[in-house]
């Protein structure tokens, strides 16, 4: 079971929040938004693979 996935996502979220705060405080709003977007895309790529495995296993078990 891949519990690490949840920890990874939470860690990325916290790091992105800190970076976002740092960049906003130093007056670089555009870079802060880019960082936010990049973190979100990374997390989405991670979760899309898991969704793929979930759907594949549902398809194979229930014969959809």
């Amino acid at each position: 079971m891949d519990v690490d996935l949840i920890f990874k996502i939470a860690a990325i979220g916290i790091i992105v929040a800190v970076l976002n705060q740092l960049l906003v405080r130093s007056g670089r709003e555009d870079q802060a938004m880019m960082t936010n977007l990049a973190g979100l895309i990374v997390v989405l790529m991670m979760i899309i693979q898991q969704i793929d495995t979930l759907f594949k296993s549902i398809k194979s078990i229930f014969g959809l």
Partner: protein
Amino acid sequence: MTMNIVAIAGIAIVAAVFAAVLKRRNQEYSIIISIAAGIVILVEILSNIAPAVKQINTLLTAAGLSSEYTVILLKALGVCVLAQFAADSCRDAGESALASKVELAGKIAILVLSLPLFEKIAGTAAGLIGV
């Protein structure tokens, strides 16, 4: 093989805490964490349910039931699981309109799946009446 309920409860609680921590700063991550935890728990459930499905299949075949009924039953169950998962994720993300559409789609998919059974029941009833 027993289902690892302790691990599932732990995953759920840890994910809930993480989601609550991240809810204030960036809400999208809390939604993604809850979806990820849901996927992990569902995969665990499915890995446990696979042998049970096989056993139910053999039981129903031994009972003399035609295999097409079992296939329809399992397909309906799969549609239910998928639609419920998608609808819950949408509702967590605050999109209750999308969630209700997904639920409607699931209901209609199950209706379409089970229409041949209705047809067969109607045919049996007509045969009994002697029309």
